[in-house]
């Protein structure tokens, strides 16, 4: 009788252990999915802001048709991109085109002084910030998730249960703030 009980006890402990690891992994994976959704929201928001921006600057910058067309084209491509890798490239191109526009704006003092443009500029730069912060949060959560599913003992559960590695979201962009060495 006693050996059977001990065996049952060990079995129950094993099941509990498996469940707790599995649930932990599910939670981490949900963080990753949620973080990705955040990036998506901000990218869409940027796409929505661009027609507004073009409308505002068009009157002032009639000589910059090329720059404006480049932005519209980059926006269209970014909107149709599939998956993190492709989206990363297209969004980086859009960021570059927008930066080009902002440099050109320097030559138009009237435009720079208009309240409408200033408000748009704040929205646009804030959206750029939100994209990069969302990406940062996403990459942090992916790193955490990936290192968890690769380390013992979670990897014993992750493999059979179908938890696979996720890709980081990279923007090919050199003008990045470096990660500080956090101390406390």
């Amino acid at each position: 009788m006693a050996p059977v009980l001990i065996l049952l006890g060990i079995l129950a402990a094993l099941v509990l252990w498996f469940v707790s690891i599995y649930n932990g992994l599910v939670q981490l994976r949900n963080y990753v999915d949620n973080a990705w959704a955040q990036i998506d929201v901000q990218l869409k928001r940027r796409h929505d802001l661009i027609p507004n921006l073009i409308e505002t600057v068009k009157g002032y910058m009639s000589h910059e048709r090329g720059t404006l067309e480049a932005i519209t084209k980059a926006r269209t491509e970014a909107m149709h991109a599939q998956g993190p890798a492709q989206a990363g490239q297209a969004e980086a191109a859009l960021s570059g085109a927008l930066r080009g526009l902002m440099v050109n704006v320097e030559r138009y003092p009237d435009l720079k002084a208009s309240a409408n443009f200033l408000a748009l500029q704040e929205e646009l730069s804030s959206t750029e910030n939100k994209i990069s912060f969302a990406r940062q949060a996403y990459n942090d959560s992916v790193t955490r998730y990936n290192s968890r599913i690769q380390s013992i003992p979670a990897n014993l559960v992750a493999g059979p249960a179908g938890f696979s590695r996720r890709d980081l979201f990279e923007l090919a962009d050199a003008a990045e703030r470096a990660v500080p060495q956090v101390k406390f």
Binding site: Q38, E123, N129, A137, S141, V179, P180, Q181, V182, F184
Partner: protein, 316 residues
């Protein structure tokens, strides 16, 4: 970075839970001691502990019902939308994303020229962040971002919850000590001397121990409370650095704020004081044992150290 930070946050939570457990224990001991001092019997000691726990429960309940609104109202804060203060609102949104909070905190502005900020909220879903107009006028975008990141760091690390819980428990201890001491002076002592007829030395010893406990418990509780909140400030600064990836922004903001602190201009009481980014009741640089915030100069030094490490080391 991340694993170290996650561990530090977990350690912070454990420390906070331990703090609240020890404060609650102190409260129970206080109740025992005061009950014993007033009644002179073991039963009255238990009754004292029971009363202490009841006071605690009531205070907790009141706080859970609407502590945030009371705090915000006492600071004369008004809620703002995106159109009222676009930049502030955007910065809060940005930091909410960086901190991966489940919901956007409500944003409040306090009309006072003194630069400061604080966050409240028992749950991250119910968080509120308030800044003064003085802060908005003085700080540049990067600096404002640093301050908001620090405040949302408190929210993400659950400091706002623990600070409230610890504050409430501390309040209950102080309340009980006050009440007990007053009762003791107003005649509780007479009943005691008549009832302890034959117990003699042992009872007297117990009485002295209980009296000591009743006097010391509030002091010990305060020390515990303040020691923990200083550690939390450094952690919130580190969180801010992690969220913004730009510790220099917060460092500059701290320098600006600390240069212009005038405690008389901000409507603040001792309960709210620990929640501000910079303690409005203490001068910059002073590090008394009862200070809730570490000295600003030390915080700036640590932040700039993080910034230094972010430079050439990670550029490769």
């Amino acid at each position: 970075m991340s694993t170290m930070m996650w561990e530090a946050i977990a350690a912070n939570k454990q420390r906070s839970a331990l703090l609240i457990a020890s404060l609650a224990t102190l409260l129970a001991l206080m109740g025992l001691a005061i009950g014993f001092l007033l009644g002179g019997r073991p039963q009255s000691a238990y009754f004292g502990a029971f009363v202490g726990m009841c006071v605690w429960g009531v205070l907790l309940l009141v706080n859970a019902m609407g502590g945030e609104s009371v705090l915000l109202a006492s600071a004369n804060a008004r809620e703002v939308s995106h159109d009222d203060a676009p930049q502030l609102y955007n910065v809060v949104e940005e930091m909410r994303i960086a901190a991966s909070l489940p919901a956007l905190p409500r944003v409040f502005i306090i009309d006072t020229p003194v630069p400061n900020a604080f966050a409240v909220g028992l749950k991250p879903e119910r968080a509120c962040v308030a800044v003064t107009t003085g802060l908005l006028e003085r700080l540049e975008r990067d600096e404002l971002q640093g301050v908001i990141a620090h405040e949302l760091g408190h929210v993400a690390n659950r400091d706002t919850l623990f600070m409230t819980l610890a504050g409430v428990t501390l309040g209950a201890i102080v309340l009980l000590a006050d009440f007990g001491m007053r009762m003791l002076f107003w005649g509780g002592g007479r009943r005691r001397s008549s009832s302890s007829g034959k117990g003699g030395g042992a009872a007297a010893l117990l009485m002295i121990a209980a009296l000591l406990l009743a006097i010391l418990a509030p002091l010990v509780a305060r020390l515990l409370y303040f020691a923990c909140s200083r550690q939390r400030e450094y952690l919130a600064d580190a969180s801010a650095a992690q969220f913004t990836r730009y510790p220099a922004g917060l460092a500059r903001a701290l320098r600006k704020i600390s240069q212009e602190q005038d405690p008389k201009q901000i409507p603040v009481n001792r309960v709210v004081a620990p929640m501000y980014a910079i303690n409005p009741l203490a001068a910059a640089g002073s590090a008394s044992i009862f200070g809730t915030h570490p000295p600003t100069t030390e915080r700036i030094r640590r932040l700039l150290e993080m910034q230094g490490a972010a430079g050439p080391a990670d550029a490769t």
